[in-house]
Symmetry: C2
Subunit: 236 residues, 2 copies
DNA sequence: ATGTGATTTGTACTATCGTACAAAAGATCA
DNA sequence: TGATCTTTTGTACGATAGTACAAATCACAT
C-alpha cells in the first residue's frame, strides 16, 4: 500500500531523492546528457547506482523528473512577472519590463527555489544543443505557451513591427540567454577581465539593454531588404 | 590543385577519409559528441570502424581534424570580409557590413567549401554547449584573435560605446547565431509557419538587423543602471 | 607481373554503460 | 517486539563503447 508521508519524510540521508536530482541537474547541465553516467550521478549524490533506478526507473526518467520539477514553477513565475510588466503604462518601459520578466527567472541562482534558476536554464540550453529527444518533447508542449504569451505581449508594445520579426528577435534573445549561461568565461576572456561573465546581475542588465534595442529595430520589410543589397550574397 | 598522386594518396573509394570526416561532422553537429559512436560514423560513411582508427587514431583525433580542416579557411574568409567592411565610409553602413562579415560565413551551405559553413558552425555550437574539452582548447586559441578583430572594428564604428558593452553584445550575437543553427524549427513553429527558420538568407537578414540595433543601444553606464532599480533583485 | 607500401577489413579485447534484482537495512505501527 | 512496507546496497548481466592488431586488399612503380 502506497502511503502518503504522514508526518515527515523519512530516509537515512536527509533526502536522497533530492540529492540525486540535484547532482544529475548539475552534471547534465555542465557535461551534457550522454557524457554523464548513472554511476557518476550516484557518486556525486553519495548514493548507490541502484538508488537511481529505484527512484527514477531509467536515466531518461531522471531527466524527465528534472523537467517536471522545474517547468511548472518557472512558468508560473514568468506569468506573474509578465502580468506585472503588462501593467506598465509607458510603452518603452513596458517593453523593458517584459524582457526583464523573461530574462530574470532564467538567471536566478536559488538552488532551493524550484522554479527556474540558472542551472536549469543551462540544462535546457545543453539539451537543446544535443537534440535530446526527451527534452524536445517536453519543451514543445510546455514552453511554447509561455513563449507565445511573451511574443504577444511584446507585439502589443511594438505594434508596428511584424509578428514574424518579433519571433525571430525573441529567438535571438533565448539564444543569447542560453549562450551566456553556457560559456560565461568567454565574456571575461574577451573583455580581458574588465567584465565578469559569471555575474548574473551584470549579464541581465546587458542582455535586457541589448535586447530591447533589438526589438525596437526597424522592421525587416521588402523596402529594407531591397535597399541594402548584400555585399556577399548567400547561396539560395 | 593537381598534386602528384604518386605513391602518397590512394584509396579504393574516391576518398574514404573525406567521407568519414563529412559523416562525423554531420553526426556530431546534430547529436553531440558522446551520443555518436565511431561505429555510427563508419556506417554513415560506408566505411569500416577500423578505418576511422587508421586515419584519425582516436575519436578525439577525428574531432580535432574536423576543426583543423575548417578553422583556417573560415578565419581567412572572415578576415577578407572584415577588411572589406572596414573600408565602408558611412559609420552606420560600416557597422552593418562588419556584422554581416561575421555572420555570413557562418551560414554558408557549401559542403565542398572547406571554410566555415552552417554545419561546422552548428558543430561548434553543440561542442561548446557540451563543454567538449578538445573543442574548448582549439576555440580559445583559434577564434579569439578573430573575435578581437571584430570587436575592435565594431568599437571603432561605435566609439561612444564602452568596449565591455561591445564584448557582451557580440557574445549575444554569437549565442543567437548558434541557437538559430541549432533549432531553426522553433522559429517556424512559433511563427506558426509564417517564417522559415531553416532559410539561411532569412536568418541572416533578421540577425543582422537585430544585432546592429543591439550594438547601437545606449551604453550601460552607471547612470542607466542606477535609474532602473530592478523589480526583482538577484541574489548576490 | 610482381613486389611494396598504403589502405581497408574483420575481429577481439577490455572497460563501461544502463538496468535488473535479490538481499540488507531502516522506518512505521499494530 | 514483530510484521510490513520503503529505501538502500551489492552485484551481475547483456549491450555497446573505443581501440588495437593481424590479415586481406588495393594502387602503382618497377
Amino acid at each position: 500500500m502506497v502511503r502518503k508521508p504522514t508526518s515527515k519524510e523519512s530516509a537515512r540521508k536527509p533526502n536522497m531523492r533530492e540529492a540525486i536530482l540535484a547532482a544529475a541537474e548539475e552534471l547534465f547541465a555542465t557535461n551534457g546528457f550522454n557524457a554523464v553516467s548513472v554511476r557518476d550521478i550516484a557518486q556525486a549524490a553519495g548514493a548507490n547506482p541502484g538508488s537511481v533506478t529505484y527512484h527514477f526507473k531509467t536515466k531518461d526518467g531522471l531527466l524527465l523528473e528534472i523537467y517536471r520539477r522545474h517547468c511548472g514553477p518557472m512558468n508560473l513565475r514568468r506569468s506573474e512577472l509578465l502580468a506585472a510588466a503588462k501593467r506598465v503604462r509607458d510603452l518603452q518601459d513596458r517593453l523593458e519590463a517584459i524582457v526583464r520578466a523573461y530574462v530574470v527567472p532564467a538567471f536566478t541562482s536559488g538552488s532551493d527555489l524550484a522554479g527556474g534558476g540558472a542551472r536549469f536554464t543551462r540544462l535546457r540550453a545543453v539539451m537543446s544543443a544535443e537534440g535530446n529527444e526527451v527534452a524536445r518533447k517536453i519543451i514543445a508542449q510546455t514552453f511554447d505557451d509561455t513563449s507565445h504569451a511573451f511574443i504577444d505581449a511584446i507585439h502589443e508594445s511594438l505594434p508596428h513591427i511584424p509578428r514574424t520579426d518579433i519571433v525571430w528577435r525573441s529567438h535571438f534573445l533565448l539564444g543569447a540567454l542560453y549562450y551566456s549561461l553556457v560559456t560565461p568565461d568567454r565574456v571575461s576572456r574577451l573583455s580581458r577581465g574588465e567584465a565578469d561573465g559569471s555575474d548574473p546581475a551584470n549579464a541581465i542588465e546587458q542582455l535586457v539593454q541589448a535586447t530591447v534595442a533589438a526589438f525596437q529595430a526597424p522592421p525587416l520589410d521588402q523596402a529594407a531588404s531591397a535597399r541594402r543589397r548584400p555585399v556577399v550574397s548567400n547561396k539560395t
